[in-house]
Point group: C2
Chain length 287, copies 2
């Protein structure tokens, strides 16, 4: 991706939620495919091609880090159960060199994690310079499930939005490009996916009867998400709303968002800080 065509900027612009504005999730079509290259087959083919560009840029990012470049990327995936966070990790991270990719899934906090501030476990899982980190769920759970299920008192929850913004600003200052994707799923599609999990013995283990109870809390979750999308969307860490009912679109879009950000970073292979000709000579002469 050497040239920036007008069309190539488009997805980021199209999916970015304007910071500070109220978000009405019901106004966003979960089956939409904004910016897609012309349907499923075209998107699948383009995702493959983007994968090679991603891997090439990742290699440069890693190489640059060996010469002191502290930049890195953190992809944050949030969304309701079955919205495809795990599937996105599998597809997007599968396009990268696993050695430079730090994947972390956040589940209910352990006793040790609960003994610390909610950002503690997140800080420990951050990508190192040169890496691409992927979070399947994140610190946002602490203002989503924590709010809906009353896992903390309201004043504590209320304080977290600002602390998240401060945290993400500090990440930006430290060279971390944060790409936050909300995978927007419909309740109907979730039901279809939950039923599919029940029907397939090799998927059934992913099913938790608690998921059914969570569906009764769907409106509360949508409201909690809308609050997050409005309050935690600084210019240094905007939210992208990715319609997620169609898996091929979701994978294509997240891939493209990642590619657009990496391309902007434009990492470079470091120059040799040693005498290349002399090294070649020494290697050729001996043994």
């Amino acid at each position: 991706m050497t040239k920036k065509g007008a069309g190539e900027q488009e997805l980021r612009t199209r999916l970015r939620l304007p910071p500070g504005e109220p978000v009405d999730l019901s106004a966003h079509d979960t089956r939409a495919t904004p910016g897609d290259p012309g349907g499923k087959d075209a998107a699948l083919a383009q995702t493959g091609r983007m994968g090679r560009r991603l891997a090439a840029l990742q290699d440069r990012l890693w190489a640059a880090s060996t010469a002191g470049d502290r930049r890195r990327v953190l992809l944050v995936l949030q969304g309701m159960d079955t919205s495809g966070k795990g599937g996105t990790v599998k597809h997007v991270a599968g396009l990268l060199n696993p050695a430079g990719c730090r994947v972390r899934a956040f589940r209910a906090p352990t006793a040790e994690e609960r003994a610390h501030d909610f950002l503690w476990r997140v800080r420990r899982a951050l990508p190192r310079p040169g890496e691409i980190g992927i979070f399947d769920r994140s610190h946002y759970e602490d203002v989503l499930v924590a709010r809906v299920r009353h896992l903390a008192v309201p004043a504590e929850i209320g304080s977290r939005y600002g602390r998240i913004n401060d945290f993400e600003r500090s990440l930006a200052d430290d060279g971390v490009t944060v790409v936050k994707c909300f995978l927007h799923l419909s309740a109907q599609e979730q039901r279809r996916r939950l039923l599919r999990r029940l029907d397939r013995p090799d998927k059934r283990w992913k099913f938790d009867p608690g998921d059914i109870e969570d569906r009764a809390l769907w409106p509360a979750y949508q409201e909690a998400y809308a609050t997050v999308l409005e309050r935690c969307a600084g210019p240094h860490a905007p939210w992208y709303l990715v319609p997620a009912d169609r898996k091929w679109y979701r994978n294509w879009a997240v891939c493209r968002l990642l590619l657009e950000h990496l391309r902007d970073l434009d990492p470079r292979y470091p120059e040799a800080d040693f005498d290349v000709a002399a090294c070649r000579e020494r290697l050729t002469r001996h043994t």
Copy 2:
């Protein structure tokens, strides 16, 4: 891989170094391709097919862990500079679901790591139940470079072999299948690869002039490896000698070794511990 054919057991048997026996590395051809399916093209095609089997077994391993199965796999890669540890990670881990794969490259220890026992940083990087861990270098560096470059006193180095064996036995007891691969490269092939790094601007960053000095220590490294391969090869954690001059063979062989071990574990999807029909009914009835 549902049936165990005689041929399928073969690679593990062929590459395993007999425990406790002196190892003469010069007697092992670095360009050999024991057990290969008939040359490069056949190996590449088979590696792709094995990748799908690996991913399917990995999915089962992970699923089983959600029901309390503590088993996991740790692939340890050791070998001289340019022997292809990084390339193997890229190719083998690239076949797996990145979410269940924990890759760790060990470099020279940091100040914090040096303040602890040499196994401290290794314990922290172990795969969790259900995961496949890959180490690019490992605790073996502490009896390899540490020995050759005299980074610790001889008595300390001497004590480490036994401590490594105890450690690996404790891993086995805790459900960790350790698969240790020594990527066996010739000095000639290393020279070719180092020259290639010098010649390509996108590879030059990997070059370290110190690598040339290390070549003068080649015999000392080979001796240190021979000692490791002889002394740290219990039945619970044998060493596999993988000829590594040919990259396609190296990838194929490591892939196959991993597959043979995962197949033996035979992880199973857990049975549902809830009423599937009732859940289906609740999901279909509401919303």
